[in-house]
Amino acid sequence: MSSSDSGSLVCMRVVGLLLLVSGIDYFVGFLPAHPLTSTLMAIGAIVLGAWGVVGALPDKYAFILRIVVGATFVYAAIDKIVHPDQFAKIIYYYKMMPGDLINLLALLLPWIELISGILLIVGFWEKASAVIIAGLLVVFLIALTNAFLKGIDISCGCFSTTTRVKGEVLSYIFRDIVLIAIAGMIVFARKSFLSLERSSAASV
């Protein structure tokens, strides 16, 4: 089992714990922001989470996580690719990027997300893709945290500073951390989960 690799196992336990926490939160409601929005998601999170925490998530389910991350990135990329003008505004509102780089990033970033996401779904070059995605997620995490601390409302592209909005940012941060941990599982796995490159010679 690929999950016997220690780095991957740590990530799997983190994923499991976060999923478990968010799943229980759906029913009990103790987190400041609720990352899950449906009962089905919550039940799935609890089941997968419990499995992950004990470090025994079989590959065939871990592969679901890989597809979830890939699909999230593909889904997120498409709207940005269609509307780079709107995405550039959103980057601007984070107030973290030098002005000259904003449009470049708005044009390039969604394509990197799309390609990495597709590769992750089909399981080809998935470790390289997972490294890219993990890197992007870390950058997003920094940006989100910065927005949270400054009280910038990034959910609607406007600028109010209410606590309700801060709650939403918190759930984005939570989701970001879950995705980083899943990407970490893929990066550190000795073999890849049900991927096209199953032979160990293929992974560098």
Partner: protein, 170 residues
């Protein structure tokens, strides 16, 4: 691994480049995003009272300009407006309010997000216009940019009108 990452990035550059040729929403590779700060002036009209519509610093005003859903109303006289104004702003002069209001009210719903401005902090037309819209006409979302035309122009932010030199950047 690094080679594969580079290939993915390179592929993204190519696809992004091709897409930006045909995308109807295409943008410049280097955009116009000036760094706007409010360090130089504290703009405030002495007539401003508690309960008046909220005021905006330059950075906030520019954020609203970028957003695109805000209507900027230039409260100066028509001649000043024609010489140059914030790009996309409409003239609703406080002094000529009656003449201009009839044409503007037809497309300006009560819940429109409005930013009023005039020449600068020493002029009060933006304040009076904002008060008028809120108190007499029931507008609920009006803000005042006291920095006004002078500070906007000084920071070389997008303008239009006779003064503006040819086509301004977006």
């Amino acid at each position: 691994m690094i080679k594969r990452i580079l290939i993915i990035v390179l592929l993204s550059v190519i696809l992004a480049g091709l897409n930006n040729l045909v995308n109807p929403n295409k943008i410049e590779w280097v955009g116009f995003w000036p760094t706007v700060t409010d360090s130089d002036t504290a703009w405030f009209s002495p007539s401003y009272e508690e309960g008046d519509p909220p005021t905006l610093l330059l950075e906030q005003a520019f954020d609203r300009y970028v957003d695109g859903s805000y209507v900027f109303l230039d409260a100066r006289e028509p001649i000043e407006y024609q010489e140059g104004h914030i790009k996309g702003a409409y003239n609703l002069s406080y002094d000529y309010f009656e003449e201009q209001w009839d044409s503007i009210k037809t497309w300006l719903p009560k819940d429109t997000s409005i930013v009023t401005y005039c020449s600068g902090s020493e002029c009060e037309a933006s304040l009076y216009l904002a008060r008028l819209l809120v108190e007499d006409y029931g507008y609920t979302n009006v803000e005042i940019f006291f920095g006004g035309w002078r500070i906007w122009e000084k920071h070389k932010l997008p303008i239009e009108g006779h003064y503006s030199t040819e086509s301004e950047e977006e």
